[in-house]
């Protein structure tokens, strides 16, 4: 039972912070960033490279992975993606698909397509709570993921930058009138989301193998999570991440592991049909015109 709970909370935390970034970008810029999964993958590879080169503790590489992705995404948004503002959603969508392809295949070139695992000091370590054994790696991942979620909340709710991001999401024209540098906020939002993705990748590298196409699976989960929580809603994404993890872990325990992968997609289609705005999304978000 403890193992079940730890798995749900760990997976839920990872899904939550990946989907929160994805949802934040959608809410502020109206962009569905397909390359978000590739950002996670790059974060995982940054950790892998540093740990295997310098033998650092994987957790210490988390800020480096997050920082690298932050910088990369800031530059991409500020100097490339920005040109596409005002273009049709198709074009932006396709652009991020292209970015995803380019990132994944550069990872293949740099690190080769084989599965790699990060030599982690936590692997195999367990400690006992009563009669149950809990893997230390999972516990660290789960605690860090939720700390990051808390950090994102603090940033959005308590800082000037967060308020500016919220104002831009609400109405970019009015935000401009109130003195917000909207272009800078766009780049910052994109970068913050990517930094979260990089951090999530760094954490994932502690518990699962790293490979160039690991983002594809995650972006599907992020879609499902973000829609379930309501596109654009950060708390929604975090709660939906937990729900999705609960669904997947229960499905693989009750029905078999192969059913775990279907849960996300079935959930996605059902939510879209029954309640398109998700659990916490606002109604007009579904009325995006093409």
């Amino acid at each position: 039972m403890t193992q079940f709970l730890i798995n749900v909370l760990m997976l839920g935390g990872i899904y939550g912070i990946v989907a929160a970034g994805f949802s934040l970008v959608y809410g502020v810029m109206n962009i569905l960033n397909v390359a978000h999964g590739a950002f996670v993958m790059f974060g995982a590879y940054v950790t892998f490279s540093i740990v295997s080169e310098f033998g650092l503790d994987p957790l210490l590489t988390l800020p480096i992975a997050a920082g690298a992705l932050f910088l990369f995404a800031f530059l991409v948004q500020r100097y490339v993606l920005h040109i596409l503002s005002g273009a049709s959603i198709f074009m932006v969508f396709i652009f991020t698909f292209g970015l995803d392809m380019a990132l994944q295949n550069s990872a293949v070139l740099i690190w080769s397509p084989i599965y790699r695992s990060v030599p982690s000091p936590y692997r195999g370590n367990v400690f006992a709570i009563g009669e149950n054994y809990v893997p230390v790696g999972s516990l660290i991942v789960f605690v860090s993921a939720w700390l990051l979620a808390g950090l994102l909340f603090y940033l959005l709710k308590r800082t000037r930058l967060g308020l500016a991001i919220q104002a831009t999401a609400l109405d970019s024209e009015s935000a401009k009138l109130a003195g917000v540098d909207v272009r800078f906020i766009y780049a910052m939002t994109f970068a913050i989301a990517a930094a979260l993705a990089g951090a999530a990748g760094s954490l994932l590298a502690i518990v699962v193998p790293v490979y160039p196409f690991m983002g594809t699976l995650l972006i599907g989960k992020a879609f499902a999570t973000a829609v379930l929580g309501g596109l654009g809603s950060v708390p929604g994404a975090l709660i939906a991440g937990l729900l999705l993890a609960l669904g997947e872990v229960s499905a693989s325990m009750l029905l078999g592991a192969q059913f775990a992968q279907v849960v996300a997609y079935v959930l996605l289609v059902v939510v879209l049909v029954v309640r398109p705005r998700g659990l916490f999304g606002r109604e007009y978000f579904a009325e995006v015109h093409v």
């Binding site: 569905l32 490339v80 959603i89 698909f97 380019a102």
Partner: protein, 357 residues
């Protein structure tokens, strides 16, 4: 005098249009003959490349029917490609049905699946619809693994019997099936472009609420358009399944294919009949050149090309054309005034006289 000028101008215009149409028909006829001759003249390598181009043209045109004309971005249309592939796979391994009928079955079943899952999905628009269709394709992919009865061997795989005859190789047969299907899907697109049904769809694209106010049966129209789109995607999937011979959920419900046909339609220009065809030819050839030159960098380079195109050609190749037309049209009043002045200067027109053009 002035009336004569207008009439003359009109006649010249009509003559130009007639000549333009004749040139067009001639061009299409020559192209068609060349396309029919391909398996006999070109090497099997190029005929394979062109079969893929034809398949992508079918998929892009089918996608264009729902996305370009109705404005519903059905990125996950590859779901129906997979349904078609599996329909043909199951039929051809379990029965002796003629191939045409199994292809028709692929089309009908894809359309029916589209009607069942599509009618609830059509309630959402924009990004939500796009995500929903992607979820659909992914759910079908993962779901296929869970139905072992469908498959002939392990993990969702079906090995299909070949459709080669004594007369034509597998390659040539697949090529002609794709070419034939492409002609049908082009006919469907031309019909949609010109018909009352098509105007209804375009009205939905412009503004669904207004369209329904003006009496367009929006739900029936857009679902019909999507079912036609699904049927053609399914038929293409069926031909493809027999062509490559082995299908599994990963290659049948392949989202990379979804990216390809959307990029093709977008590069060519959405909502036009010619756009997806031009896009398929361009991307097919560019992709092939890139692949043969840099086989290891292929997907990386394609990704970069996709990014550059989305920035440089936001309305596709057809967008360039319509933009030029618009510019010319915007200049028409100026040209008209200049011409009038010129004629006035020559004393050919009575001062203040107006021409009805």
């Amino acid at each position: 005098m002035d009336r004569e000028h207008g009439v003359l101008k009109k006649e010249g215009f009509v003559a130009n249009a007639v000549r333009g149409r004749q040139v067009g028909i001639l061009f299409v006829a020559v192209l068609l003959v060349m396309l029919i001759a391909v398996p006999w003249i070109l090497s099997s390598y190029w005929s394979r490349v062109l079969t893929t181009v034809l398949m992508m043209a079918i998929l892009a045109q089918a996608w264009n029917l729902i996305t370009g004309f109705v404005g519903y971005p059905a990125f996950g249309n590859v779901a129906f490609f997979g349904v078609g592939a599996y329909t043909v796979g199951v039929i051809s391994t379990r029965s002796e049905l003629p191939y045409v009928l199994s292809l028709l079955a692929a089309g009908v079943i894809s359309a029916l699946v589209c009607a069942v899952v599509g009618s609830p999905l059509m309630r959402v628009r924009g990004h939500y619809f796009a995500i929903g269709t992607i979820g659909l394709a992914a759910a079908f992919r993962e779901g296929t693994y869970l139905i072992p009865q469908l498959t002939t061997s392990a993990s969702g795989t079906i090995v299909l019997p070949s459709f080669a005859t004594g007369f034509l190789s597998i390659q040539a047969t697949a090529y002609y099936w794709m070419l034939g299907t492409l002609l049908f899907v082009i006919a469907a697109a031309v019909f949609v472009d010109k018909s009352r049904f098509g105007y209804g769809l375009k009205a939905i694209r412009a503004d669904e609420t207004v369209a329904s106010t003006f009496g367009v049966p929006t739900f029936r129209y857009k679902l019909t358009a999507w079912m036609v789109s699904a049927a053609f995607s399914g038929i293409a999937g069926g031909i493809w399944a027999t062509w490559i011979g082995v299908i599994d959920p990963a290659n049948s419900y392949n989202l990379a294919l979804a990216v390809s046909y959307s990029v093709i339609a977008l590069v060519g220009g959405l909502g036009t009949v010619l756009g997806p065809l031009i896009g398929a030819a361009l991307i097919g050839v560019v992709g092939e050149v890139v692949w043969s030159q840099y086989s290891t960098l292929h997907l990386l380079v394609m990704g970069v090309i996709i990014m550059i195109t989305s920035i440089a050609l936001p309305d596709g190749v057809m967008g360039l054309w319509s933009r030029r037309q618009e510019k010319e049209r915007a200049l028409l009043p100026v040209k008209y005034r200049e011409k009038t002045r010129e004629l006035e200067g020559q004393g050919a027109m009575s001062p203040g006289g107006d021409v009805d053009a």
